[in-house]
Assembly symmetry: C2
Homo-oligomer: 80 residues x 2
Amino acid sequence: MKAIVTVRLKPGVLDPQGVTISNALGSMGYSGVDEVRSGKIFELTLDNGDVAAVRAKAEEIADKLLANPVIETYTVEVQP
Amino acid sequence: MKAIVTVRLKPGVLDPQGVTISNALGSMGYSGVDEVRSGKIFELTLDNGDVAAVRAKAEEIADKLLANPVIETYTVEVQP
């Protein structure tokens, strides 16, 4: 069973990587890109169990290890 | 209009970050996590246009700047 944890910076938190990509796109001639925000994705392969238990475990892992709750938010998607 | 570009390592490519997270989970007492694979996500805010054009642009940007096609694959999701 897979749990996909997507970690994004909270709105308003500076994203230097995103700004750098945005500037690079400008100098590569791409117009019309207003903003780039970067984030991380983690694909956890977990032992099978019921979806609710897997989701709860992935959320706990995201809280404790994968995301910094001060500046980041996360979403968890469970795939059977 | 938003385009979400998700960049993942190709299967078989070593993922030291994922291995480190997996080991850390082991020492934190989490059992049942078989594998962790890490990736990146980029949220591009683009000028409005038709979905196909926005998708094509995001794919071109992913190809040229966001992903390394030798070791990574990407998916593009367009949100109106």
